[in-house]
Each structure stands twice: as structure tokens, then as C-alpha cells.
């Protein structure tokens, strides 16, 4: 607004104009900074507000749910049949599916991700690293639905050749493919953590007569513990929160099992199933997804707190 007043000033005031123009420029620059500051603050506020809104919705809707279903049943019932006449709401059933598929995924992703990170950070020649990192990131960018169908139409038949009793929908192949999906996250973050370890520590190790492998495993990895732990936590969160792969490849039969060779529903795949079905809003059946979602959120929160604690506990002191 101040800029437009300057432009309309008559020409004979040009000297004044120059001076005041400079001053005004400063003032307008100040204004601009204020505006930017405000926009940034607003952006930060949006994310905080969104989080709060999600928590509010989850808690309030779950509140309605828990007025009909006692918490004791929710936690300890061994059946999950919210849509049947004889409805049961044992979250353990879904939780077992989530934990089993996540365990399978993590058994793939954590060791392989770590090995890849060690290789890329400590062994790979510069060229190999530069070429393989984008590929790794590409692997993380594949839509999960693609992974899901890969598990269903490729991996499961393959596994059935070895193990004919394996059902067409099973937690095992969903978990394995989910593990492959998570590898890039674990590898990339762990590699960053290991590359941040100062060269002086490596030199200290080599100077003591250590080999490259000894230096990597006994000095670099321990020095990067907190970063690697963060990578693992992210991997766990991804596994617990993964939806499409499980919805496609693991079947959606709620099944209290810790056997990966069974089919099963997870918290996330159940939520998709219900949300896609035509359940009347406000029915108890519909309300279950909020209770399930709240459970999922609490789990993720727990892992994040664990990650925070690990980072503090093993903070690098170089």
C-alpha cells in the first residue's frame, strides 16, 4: 500500500522520493518479513491443529464406542465380529494380525536395511553409492498397492510351491513384501547416521590396526546407534501403519493368530474394509474404526516415545 502512494508522487519531488523511497523500502521489507513470519507460523499452526483435530475426533468417537463396549471386552475378548448379530469387539484379534505381519516385515527390513547401510556407507566406492541410492529411493516410492498385488499374485504362488498348505491370503507374503518396502527407509536413514560419524573415529580405529569390517561394525555402527535406532523406529511405524499391502494380500478375515502362514486382518486393513463398506454412520460397527484407529495411534506414539528415549540414551558424543 505504501508503494503505490510513492508511485503517484509528482516528479518534482524526485529527490525527496529517493530518500523516502529508500526508507519506505526498508519499512516494506520489514512488513514483508512480518508477513512471511506469520505465514510460517500459520503453517506450523495448521499441522498442530490437524494433529489436535485428529486426536479429538478419535477420542470423542471412541468415547461413544466405549459407552457401548466395556474396555475390558475390547482388550481381552478373543473374537472380533462387530458386524455379526452376536457382536464381539476383541482388538487383540486385529492386533495379532498387525504384530505378526509387522514382525515378518521387520525381520526382513531391519537386518537387510542395516547391511545395505553399512555397505553403502563404509564399503561402496563413491560411484556405486551414487548409482544405488536413487534406486533404493525408487524402491521406497513404489505405491504400496503395487507391492500388495506383487505379494498376492507373485510371492504367494511362489511360496505355495514350497509350502502347499499356504492359503492364498496370508500374513507371511504380505509381511515379506512389506519388509522389502521398508528396507529403503531403514537403509537410507541408517546410512545417513553412519556417514555423520566423524572420520577421526574411523582413523582412530584403522590406526589401531583394525580392518574395514571391524571399523564398520565395532566403531561406526555403535557411534551411529541413535540414528540407526531412529531408522528402526520409523521402520516399525511404517510396518504397523501399512494398509494396502495387507488389505490386498493378507485377506481380511479377523483371526487371532501369531502364525504368519495364516490369513488375517490387521487394524489398518480392518479400517479400510469398514470405511469402504456401506455401514451407516453412527452405528456401533462404524464406531469401531475409531477405537481401532486410536489403538493404532497409541501404538505409534509409544514407538515414537521409545525412539525419543533411545536417541537421548545413546546420543552421540563425538
Amino acid at each position: 500500500m505504501s508503494a503505490s502512494t510513492i508511485v503517484t508522487l509528482p516528479l518534482n519531488q524526485s529527490l525527496d522520493l529517493q530518500v523516502s523511497d529508500r526508507l519506505r523500502k526498508k519499512a516494506s521489507r520489514h512488513m514483508k518479513e512480518r508477513v512471511i513470519e506469520f505465514l510460517l507460523f500459520g503453517a506450523a499452526l495448521i499441522s498442530v491443529f490437524t494433529t489436535l483435530a485428529i486426536v479429538y475426533v478419535l477420542v470423542s468417537e471412541s468415547w461413544v464406542f466405549f459407552q457401548h463396549v466395556p474396555l475390558k471386552d475390547f482388550l481381552f475378548d478373543t473374537q472380533w465380529t462387530p458386524l455379526f448379530d452376536d457382536a464381539h469387539y476383541g482388538i487383540m484379534v486385529l492386533l495379532s494380525g498387525t504384530l505378526t505381519s509387522s514382525a515378518v516385515a521387520l525381520m526382513v527390513a531391519l537386518p537387510l536395511g542395516t547391511i545395505i547401510a553399512v555397505y553403502l556407507s563404509e564399503f561402496a566406492p563413491f560411484k556405486v553409492r551414487e548409482i544405488s541410492k536413487p534406486f533404493l529411493e525408487l524402491l521406497g516410492g513404489v505405491p504400496t498397492i503395487v507391492y500388495g498385488y506383487f505379494a498376492l499374485v507373485f510371492l504367494t504362488p511362489l511360496l505355495q510351491k514350497i509350502y502347499p498348505d499356504l492359503p492364498g491370503f496370508n500374513l507371511l507374503s504380505a509381511g515379506l513384501v512389506m519388509g522389502v518396502m521398508i528396507i529403503p527407509y531403514v537403509a537410507s536413514l541408517s546410512e545417513d547416521a553412519m556417514r555423520a560419524v566423524p572420520m577421526s573415529l574411523r582413523e582412530g580405529s584403522y590406526a589401531m590396526g583394525a580392518t574395514r569390517l571391524q571399523t564398520s561394525l565395532r566403531v561406526v555402527v555403535p557411534a551411529a546407534t541413535s540414528g540407526i535406532a531412529s531408522a528402526y523406529i520409523l521402520g516399525i511405524s511404517r510396518a504397523v501403519g501399512e494398509t494396502m499391502i495387507l488389505a490386498v494380500a493378507a485377506g481380511m478375515q479377523p483371526n487371532l493368530t501369531f502364525n504368519p502362514a495364516d490369513s488375517g486382518a490387521t487394524i489398518t486393513s480392518y479400517i479400510v474394509q469398514v470405511a469402504l463398506g456401506d455401514l451407516p454412520h453412527g452405528s456401533i460397527g462404524y464406531q469401531t474404526i475409531f477405537a481401532a484407529g486410536l489403538t493404532l495411534m497409541l501404538m505409534t506414539l509409544m514407538f515414537n516415545l521409545l525412539g525419543y528415549w533411545l536417541r537421548k540414551r545413546f546420543r552421540e558424543v563425538y
Binding site: S200, L201, G204, Y206, A207, G209, R218, V317
Partner: protein, 267 residues
């Protein structure tokens, strides 16, 4: 330089050469950092390398334990021969890990591993496959005593090495270097990150160590070189300008450049 061989040896019958550079050249890529270095390192003596920043002291020091092999693009020529076995440390068939088992190193900034005090010292033994508990305990204790650190840390062997003070950390690094019983220890400005009191204790320690081990030390501090070393080498722009018995180099330098540097007229 040729005057290396013309030093008056003061009739010391025990004076033996532990290692020597023979026409040693070094390149970082296209940049020649060392030019035709000829220099002896006497057994169980302290030899100090002095000279203005960037003259190649660290480069020369790190050539002895082949640290340069860790980075691509480094090239070197000539020989560094170790006695009494007359091994050329730079020869292709010599494993750098073997070299580093014989020649240990202490760095400018204390760099303890993210491990306990005990494990820091045990590291140089464990990488050699020594995992026997009582042997480790004996040798760790012996090395910590050798580094004048035992009394201060004997009750906190399980603390993180990084929790020690700067001077203690540097002595921990010395203990670590001692643990494997090396023949030579290389020090690269080991006190430049320390306060005067810690510096004095490290200097004292280095002097004690030379009864058992040969020491090659880079220092930017001429007083330190004068105080602790038996031999001094003055380097400038990648060349060895003067080498001799420390007193001689400091009192009657043969070279005008050396004199200027030592008297503080440049550097």
C-alpha cells in the same frame, strides 16, 4: 638431508636407527606435499617434526602407518624402512594392517571410541583376536598405568571414554596406542587441543614412554619440541630443511631458514 648422517652421536653406543625415510615423495592427487625426504628415526628416542602450518608434517607422520592408503588419489614413492628387519613399510606386499600393528598413532584431537574406558583400550587387542578376559584385563591395566591414567580411572572403567576430561581422553588414546605393544608411536600435535596443565602431563608421559618405544611427534609448539625431543626435523613447503640433535637445531641451526623460524622471524 645429508647432515643426518653427519650428526655427532655423542658416543651413545645404544643409538640405533629404528626407521628411516629414503627419498620419500608424496602426492595428494596432483599436489606434491613431500619432496625427497631422507630422515632417520632413532630407536627409543623422541624425534619431533616442526615447521609452519601446511609444510607437510602430518603428511609425513601419517605415511609411517600408511594412513594415506585410506583415501583414493594419494600417491607416494621412495621408501620408509623399518629396522632391525629392514622392511620397506611402503612395499605393495606389506599389509598396512601389519604396519599399524607395529606403528601406533595418537591424534591431534582426542578421539576415544563410543565405548567404555576399558573397551577403548581393549580395542587394539580385540582387533588382533585377543578376547581372553584375564589377558585383556592385565594388558588394559598395564597400558592405563603406562599412560599415567590408571589411578584416575580404575574405578570408572565402565564409564564412556567421552565422559573423561580432554587431557584424560588424550591419555586414554595413548593407552589405546600402547596396548598393542607397538615399536613406534606417532603423535600428531597431541596437545594442541589441551590446556597447559594437561599439556604438561602429556609431555611428561611422552618423555617416560621413550624408554620403551620410539616416538615421532609433530608439534606446532617449538618450546615443546625443545623440551621433550632428542632430535628435531624442520620442514618447509614439503622439504626437510634441517635435521639434527634438538639442542643443535635450536642453538646453532645450520640453515638460515631454520634460524628464522626458530627465532620467530617467520612462521
Amino acid at each position: 638431508m645429508s647432515n643426518a648422517t653427519t650428526i655427532n652421536m655423542d658416543a651413545d653406543p645404544k643409538l640405533a636407527i629404528k626407521a628411516e625415510c629414503r627419498n620419500f615423495n608424496f602426492h595428494y592427487g596432483d599436489f606434491q606435499a613431500l619432496k625427497g625426504i631422507n630422515m632417520p628415526v632413532y630407536d627409543k628416542k623422541i624425534t619431533s617434526l616442526i615447521g609452519p602450518s601446511g609444510c607437510g608434517k602430518s603428511t609425513l607422520l601419517r605415511s609411517f602407518n600408511r594412513m594415506h592408503d585410506l583415501y583414493p588419489g594419494n600417491r607416494y614413492g621412495g621408501e620408509i624402512v623399518m629396522h632391525p628387519d629392514n622392511t620397506n613399510l611402503l612395499a605393495k606386499e606389506v599389509d598396512p594392517i601389519e604396519v599399524r600393528m607395529r606403528i601406533s598413532m595418537v591424534f591431534q584431537k582426542p578421539n576415544p571410541f563410543p565405548k567404555s574406558v576399558f573397551e577403548n583400550v581393549a580395542y587394539s587387542l580385540r582387533v588382533r583376536g585377543i578376547n581372553n578376559k584375564s589377558e585383556l584385563e592385565d594388558r588394559v591395566q598395564h597400558s592405563l598405568k603406562g599412560a599415567a591414567l590408571w589411578d584416575e580411572v580404575k574405578n570408572r572403567l565402565n564409564d564412556l571414554g567421552a565422559n573423561l576430561s580432554g587431557g584424560q581422553q588424550q591419555r586414554l588414546c595413548i593407552a589405546r596406542a600402547l596396548a598393542s605393544d607397538p615399536e613406534i608411536i606417532l603423535f600428531d600435535e597431541p596437545t594442541s587441543a589441551l590446556d597447559p596443565i594437561a599439556t604438561a602431563s602429556i609431555e611428561e608421559l611422552v618423555v617416560e614412554l621413550c624408554e620403551k618405544v620410539t616416538i615421532l611427534i609433530v608439534t606446532h609448539n617449538m618450546q615443546q619440541a625443545a623440551r621433550i625431543s632428542d632430535f628435531t626435523a624442520y620442514m618447509y613447503l614439503g622439504e626437510l630443511i634441517e635435521y639434527g640433535v634438538t639442542d643443535q637445531v635450536f642453538i646453532k641451526p645450520k640453515n638460515k631458514q631454520t634460524e628464522d623460524y626458530i627465532t620467530g622471524r617467520f612462521g
